[in-house]
Structures are given as structure tokens and as C-alpha cells.
Symmetry: C2
Subunit: 245 residues, 2 copies
């Protein structure tokens, strides 16, 4: 029995060694879903895995774009800076998300870890070769790019036209929906990012984020819990606020 388990464990480990991608926990979420075993094997051949502590840079804006990444755990933020230091976070990425779309010669933004993060790293040249070889992969990546684009358009509406309260509620709903998609808790949601990060994502200041959260807390639609968790007490109310109803 103990032996069986040890064997099973060894088999899994050796399988992972031969093809870590086939044992990947987030495969269904990402570009790697819908790949055939052969494609997956080829992808595994070019994949390097990487662990990064929180608060570290994965790559910087303007650096040569040598690689793409897939987040397998943790949270990463992407941001652009103005010369005087004003910052706009263009997205938070979690397990299954792809980093490096907008494949250009240089990275158009900085990627920095919000929590400890595990990544798969794909050298760019090699993955471009695979894309030519496997249209299915390209198709999948194109589809991801389209989703990103739709999300970016939603974010433009938020940044250009929503009030602080609407922005915060939209943000909480986004986190909730994404947690659901990953099989995590949708309702007490885990919010790993700082007020400053939230502010730079929503086009606000930390003070306004803090005040608005206090206001939502006071009016009873959310409550703050231990460990950076937020309970969405009145989901319908939050939804109405987010949409400006």
C-alpha cells in the first residue's frame, strides 16, 4: 500500500520529468489546453519553469522581448510608467494567464510579481517556430489575445467613464469572476494586491481607494476579513454600482 503510493508518486514524478506539461495543474486554463500530446511534448521541450518571490521584476518595459511566460501560480502585475513616475497597471495576471502577448521586439510594459509566483518560460524564437508548425496553438493564442482585447476595452470604459465607487465595485467583481474561473472562492475573494496597486490599476490614488472601500464597508455591501480577503455581502448591489445603475 505504502509501496503502491510510493510507486504512483514516482511514476507521476517521472512522467512530470518526461513531460511536465502533461502533469500541469493549470493546463486546462491556458494556451496549453486543446493541445495534442505531440504538441504538448514539443512545448514541454522548450519550457523552462521559474519561481519568483513577491515584489520582483519578471521583465522590464523596453527590454528585448526574449520570452513569453505562462503564470502557473501566484499573481503578476503589468504596468507602464510615465517619465515622472506616474504608473498605470494594465492588468493583473494569475494562474493560467499568458504574459507577453503584444509580441513585439521589446516588452511594452514591466511585469512584476505581486505574490510569490511560478512561471513557465517559453523562449520567443522557439515558440514562434512552434506556432508556425502547429496552427492550433496559434489559433489558441489568437483567441487569448482577443479575450485580452475585450478586457482592455472594458478597462478603458472603466478608466474613462466610471466613478471611484463604480471602479472599485467593478474591480471586486472582476476578481470574483476570475477566482471562479480558476476554481477558487468567488465570494470571500482573496485580494493580494496593495491599495497602491489597486489605485494604479483603476486610475485613482491610494487614499481614494481606501476611502471608497471604507464607504462600501460602512454601507454594508462588503466586509473586510482576515488575510486580505473581502466578502461581497450584497453581490447584486455591487453589480448595480459597478454598472452605474
Amino acid at each position: 500500500m505504502a509501496q503502491t503510493e510510493a510507486e504512483r508518486s514516482r511514476d507521476k514524478a517521472s512522467l512530470a520529468e518526461i513531460n511536465p506539461c502533461s502533469a500541469c495543474a493549470v493546463r486546462t486554463l491556458t494556451v496549453c489546453s486543446a493541445l495534442e500530446p505531440e504538441e504538448l511534448r514539443r512545448l514541454a521541450d522548450i519550457t523552462q519553469t521559474q519561481r519568483i518571490e513577491s515584489g520582483h521584476t519578471v521583465f522590464g518595459e523596453g527590454e528585448p522581448a526574449d520570452a513569453l511566460f505562462n503564470v502557473t501560480s501566484g499573481t503578476v502585475k503589468l504596468y507602464k510608467l510615465l517619465p515622472d513616475g506616474r504608473r498605470q497597471i494594465t492588468g493583473f495576471l494569475g494562474a493560467g494567464d499568458f504574459v507577453g502577448l503584444a509580441l513585439n521586439e521589446t516588452y511594452a510594459y514591466t511585469a512584476e510579481t505581486v505574490t510569490a509566483t511560478a512561471l513557465c518560460r517559453f523562449p520567443r524564437r522557439k515558440i514562434e517556430g512552434l506556432l508556425d508548425e502547429f496552427p492550433r496553438m496559434q489559433r489558441r493564442l489568437f483567441s487569448l489575445a482577443n479575450n485580452e482585447l475585450a478586457a482592455a476595452q472594458d478597462q478603458m470604459l472603466l478608466l474613462g467613464r466610471k466613478t471611484a465607487k463604480e471602479k472599485i465595485c467593478s474591480f471586486l467583481l472582476l476578481l470574483s469572476q476570475r477566482a471562479g474561473r480558476r476554481g477558487h472562492s468567488e465570494n470571500p475573494i482573496f485580494v493580494p494586491m496593495s491599495r497602491a496597486d489597486i489605485a494604479d490599476y483603476l486610475g485613482l490614488t491610494t487614499e481614494t481607494v481606501s476611502r471608497t472601500i471604507t464607504q462600501l464597508k460602512t454601507s454594508g455591501v462588503i466586509s473586510l476579513m482576515e488575510g486580505n480577503k473581502v466578502r461581497l455581502c450584497d453581490l447584486d448591489g455591487i453589480y448595480d454600482i459597478a454598472e452605474g445603475c
Copy 2:
């Protein structure tokens, strides 16, 4: 002589009839560049051309996404609305631009003409078939989606972190660069959109757009000309303002 010209004209017309795409003036700008004659012919087979007057809707947010479009002349705006009517324009498209990226079941935004516009219409099912058949086309479309994504990220930085003056200057530079790419005048630039459209693109009000333009005019960095043209008198100055220097 007159005969020769008539002949030439007739030949061109008949060529266009056989394969309008190969005679297309904006082909080099768009997804249709880098296609082989065979691919171009197949694309032409599924293409319908369409002319729309200014101020008309090409498609509406939420409608089934039956087709993609390529703008061949004129300007189109894409926008999303909040329930109370607040509007965010997510992009202005011109000759060579592709409409309908973010290929989902329904359109995520409304597309409306700003000026009289000519479009190529590609039924969605048919173009999806072509994409499977011709990886080159898919590659090209993927690359366009990536450019859009990079532009969307720039726009998020603008909406979230730039002042009204910086927004207007960024917008003028964007128009200038795009005009240049299309072989139009980069310096007295043609600005076909209304103040309200500019406002909804930049996350401002018409009044603020108007005031800011007046201010730029008064300080001598731009001047307004006949026919909705704007001269960028101090290009370096405009660039510095746009980047917040």
C-alpha cells in the same frame, strides 16, 4: 490615345471585377498584405464591399458578430456605453484597419461611421474557414491583434494617468502618426471627429476638450485651420506635453 486610356480603364475594371482585392488601394496596410495571389483570390470570393454615410451604425454592441470588416476609406469609431448613457470610445479606425477583432459571439462594442466610409465585409464563418486553411492569414491577424493590444495599453495609461492637456497632445500625435502610416499629411492633420467624440475617447467632456484646445492654440503650439485641420506648430513641445515631461 483616348482609346488606350479607355482600354486600360476597362482592363482595370475587369481585373477588379475578377479580383477586387488585388486592385485594393489599402491592401498594403491591412490583413490582406502578405497574402499570396491564391489566398487573395479566396478572400475576394467571400468579400462584400459596402459604403456607409457618416453617422451610421455598422453594427451594435450585443448584436451577433456575423462579420468582420476592413475599413478601406473613411473613419469609424468604436464605443461602449454604460446603462445611463456615458460613452467610452475605444478606438478610431481608418483605411486599412480591421474591425471585429475580439471575435466573440456578439460584438462587444458599437461601430459607427464618423465620415462616409467604405468597408470590406467578411462573413465570419467563411473567414474562420480561411484562417484554418491559410496560417499566414491567421498569423497576420494575430499580429494585428497584438498591435491593438499594445495600443489599448497605451490608451489605458492615457485614460488613467494623464491630464487633459497631456491627453489632447497624445491624441494629436496619434492622429499624426497614423496619417503618416497611411501616406497622408502628418502635419497639418485632418481631424474629422467632433469635440464630443474626442471627449469620449479621452475620458473628458466636450467643454474640457474645447478649453484645452483653446489653451494649446493660445500658447502657440497648435493652430486651427480650414476644414477641420490642425497644424502642430511645435511638434517637440507637443511631444513633451504628451509624455508629461
